[in-house]
Symmetry: C2
Subunit: 518 residues, 2 copies
């Protein structure tokens, strides 16, 4: 059989052998042999996105929820280019992703055809690993190496460029599974030094990666319970387990001044899979580094190290193992306010109705910062943030998370400006019947920019500046946009109406969208 395989078939077999189960795709002509191979080989579910940013963002969401890479399939340089922004987010989330990018046939590349471009150059800025396949005979080995690269801790972006002739020519047998490297062990000294700091007191643990969910977070919670240390995540963390009964993890404030104030009484900041905190943007006369001068940072685990094992060892060292952390409280039964909506009221309502084990994709930007603590009081859930600051990640993340976790409710909290970047994700949600509820915070502006303009000392916006920040004229109509993509939609502008819609929408399991006018 092996001698009858095409390169594309050898590649797909190899991906299956190496544990790839889903391919988010927006193919073109040069990927048709790969597409055709998906038909003949079992094991990979193809999911179509109508825009490449949906494809790559969905792969990120899938990876965050499963810890496993999905494949993406895009079409030459420009197709890859459309997926780069969400690959940037995936890179910052340390998500494993395997990109397969078709290219012109090897012999065709020297001609200046319309789609000729330097695919490697497009891939490089977001990829930890890039390789252009040279022959159908090596594609299997290349693919196995690509998956291993993606699985290298803490998770990497691997891009395999597939010239059309290496997909259609005769190939060797597929490659078997290639074991992925394990995370490195943490040095004992890192544990003992961290334990010493915790005993001195005034510590905070800045958690990222595996430390923010599962066994890692439980260990961190015990440490907090035993030592009084605070737990904190970056402002934009890939995945945080939150909700009633779970350890309280603060979110680092977005504004530099607020972050410095938050860390004011911390003497040792213990880094677990994270880097020292830095400002999201620089501002005139404000610091970029957010570790206060009096505060020492101590690295318990680097991102590529086994943070969960390190936290378990640290919990043992401070005698915390098994202790119950200070936990989030549920506010499901507190009285509701009424009247017009604002981000806080929306968060309260989402918190009240969120089913157990849901996933929240949060790209509500200004509408999210203040309301974040309120969402911590919902039933236990995971929250996914816009890790790379590239707007347009939220709806695709939700899409990929729903593919990854078909039994869990996914809720997308979206600014109306943000959602417009990749609204095509709604179509994939409809096509795949995904259990995703999108809530649009319809403030009709790039509100974060209106605030930033002032913070930066750039003055009050005049007519032209305002025209670049304001979405009123015309107001995007999210009822129609959602329905145009095949997703049921509702519009509400007060607490009572949102409460009513959420009551049903949170129980239904088909994709829906609520335009919440604020």
């Amino acid at each position: 059989m092996a001698d009858e395989l095409t390169g594309a078939e050898s590649l797909v077999h190899t991906l299956v052998n190496n544990g790839i189960e889903v391919c988010f795709a927006n193919p073109g002509t040069s990927e048709m042999h790969f597409v055709s191979a998906l038909d003949r080989i079992d094991g990979i579910r193809p999911v179509l996105g109508l825009f490449e940013g949906v494809v790559t963002g969905a792969a990120d969401g899938y990876a965050r929820m499963t810890g496993q890479p999905a494949a993406t399939l895009t079409h030459l340089g420009p197709g890859m280019a459309n997926g780069l922004a969400n690959l940037h987010n995936a890179r910052k989330a340390q998500s494993p992703v395997v990109n397969v990018v078709g290219d012109h046939a090897t012999g065709h590349q020297r001609f200046d055809a319309p789609l000729t471009a330097d695919v490697e150059a497009f891939a490089q800025p977001v990829s930890h690993w890039v390789h252009a396949v040279r022959s159908a005979r090596t594609v299997a080995a290349d693919a196995a190496r690509a998956v291993r690269a993606a699985r290298t801790p803490p998770g990497q972006i691997a891009t395999l460029i597939l010239p059309a002739d290496t997909a259609w020519s005769q190939a060797e047998r597929p490659a078997p599974a290639l074991p992925a490297p394990s995370p490195a062990s943490v040095a004992d000294t890192a544990v003992t030094e961290s334990a010493r700091a915790l005993r001195r007191g005034r510590c905070a643990l800045l958690l990222r990666g595996d430390a923010l969910h599962g066994a890692g977070l439980r260990a961190a919670g015990s440490i907090a319970a035993a030592t009084g240390a605070r737990l904190v995540s970056d402002t934009f963390a890939p995945r945080v387990e939150r909700g009633a009964g779970r350890a309280v993890v603060d979110r680092m404030p977005y504004r530099a001044a607020d972050a410095l104030r938050y860390l004011d009484d911390v003497e040792t900041l213990i880094l677990v899979g994270s880097q020292p905190p830095v400002a999201f943007f620089a501002y005139p006369d404000q610091p970029s580094e957010l570790t206060p001068e009096h505060c020492t940072t101590l690295t318990l685990a680097h991102p590529h190290e086994d943070g969960t094992a390190a936290l378990n060892a640290l919990a043992d060292a401070v005698g915390a193992t098994g202790m119950r952390p200070p936990a989030e409280q549920c506010d499901r039964h507190e009285p509701l306010s009424s009247g017009p909506l604002d981000p806080y009221k929306i968060a309260r309502l989402v918190s009240r109705h969120l089913p157990e084990n849901a996933i929240i994709s949060d790209e509500a930007i200004t509408s999210s910062f203040g309301a974040y603590p309120l969402l911590g009081r919902a039933a236990p859930h995971d929250v996914l943030q816009c890790t790379g600051g590239a707007i347009g990640g939220g709806l695709p993340l939700a899409t990929g998370a729903a593919i990854a976790c078909p039994d869990r409710k996914v809720v997308s909290l979206e600014g109306d400006g943000s959602a417009l970047y990749t609204l095509q994700a709604l179509w994939t949600q409809a096509r795949e019947h995904l259990d995703v509820l999108t809530i649009i915070y319809a403030n009709r502006s790039y509100q974060v920019l209106e605030q930033e303009l002032t913070l930066l000392g750039a003055g009050r916006p005049g007519h032209k500046a305002h025209s670049l920040l304001d979405l009123h004229n015309p107001e995007p109509n999210w009822l129609k946009l959602a329905e145009g993509m095949g997703v049921e939609a509702h519009r509400v502008d007060n607490v009572e109406a949102l409460d009513k819609v959420l009551r049903t929408a949170m129980r239904d399991s088909h994709p829906q969208l609520i335009e919440a006018v604020i």
Copy 2:
């Protein structure tokens, strides 16, 4: 006054001094000083796009119609990334564009903030010229050089990276206009050799750039009239003047086999601003180069040379000056068919109702190839094609063309798959009250890929392959999508209805969309 300028103000003044009149923008925090400077300095019209692909595609359309660069404004690496696909198209169209991309403040770049990325690396694959500003004191000189780079014949992509501190710090005076290089003159020998070939007969002129409109095309038409040479454009040309009374310019067939057949009786292919024809894609056992073996190519003008002057000289050399070319005929009064729509009937109807001096942005892909000759029989107009093969160019091109030419009707012919990549352009059309009519060829599929799958010998699509090519489930509803973006919409499925809607829509001057179900 000069000593009170910020870098952003110095930059905006310099852009104005150097002839930039429009800035297509999707700004973020790091661009707020630039945005604010637009308020205080007259001369630049800001146009907001809700997605960066709209911004860059609009700049391309603007450049094709005016020959002048617009500025684009995007936000760091990921913002630039979202605009790359349409910059790829602009590059292949040889459109002048000046990209201003904000970056983190210089001192902030060494930190791994969420949006930190290698902006230069993102810009490189599509840019002829890239420069990262080092200081507010050099930004004016840098900007003048950027505009000159963009204006370098035949038109280039210039990318100026603007770290936030170089925008907010104190700057020097703005730079005055910097003269742009002129196109190089064509060698006399190129003219005499071409004239000799024309006298021998069996010639075709492959035209691109300025040779496809205005004085260049008129000269080419005279040459055709005098010598019997055929005029032909690339399958995807930046801008072609067509319509009743104008010289007939054939379109090179998309399929390699058809192109070879088209050139079968040509002995000399004279290149005017163009390169020898190559296949769009490679196929197993088919050639990439489309110049038949018996055919010689002869370069009259390279892309950076003055093709119009060369054609005028050539017309003189063959005694053709002033001769009237074989011209397109108008079919406005031929009888109409009736019943269900197909691409041919749509083209006939568009041709019939198109007002004089309109602009067609053509991204209808499979629906366009066969029907292209029919559109040549409309009133005189310009047609803009997807030069780089990066889908999602059409609606933004139309948007930019309408900004460039407010007194001309713009008609977007769009495949439904293609239009979904950058549908946010409709919102900009609504906001700016642009005279754009979009016609969606709603075939609910990536029809070109269904054809390609077979052509490539990849077999008939099975269930999974079909799921990656088909847009039926769910069908995008273009009525709702357009209205959701603030654009009036109509749906038609037969000749009579389309005829009726076109009759009014072609006369109205506000943005509209017609979903033509085929």
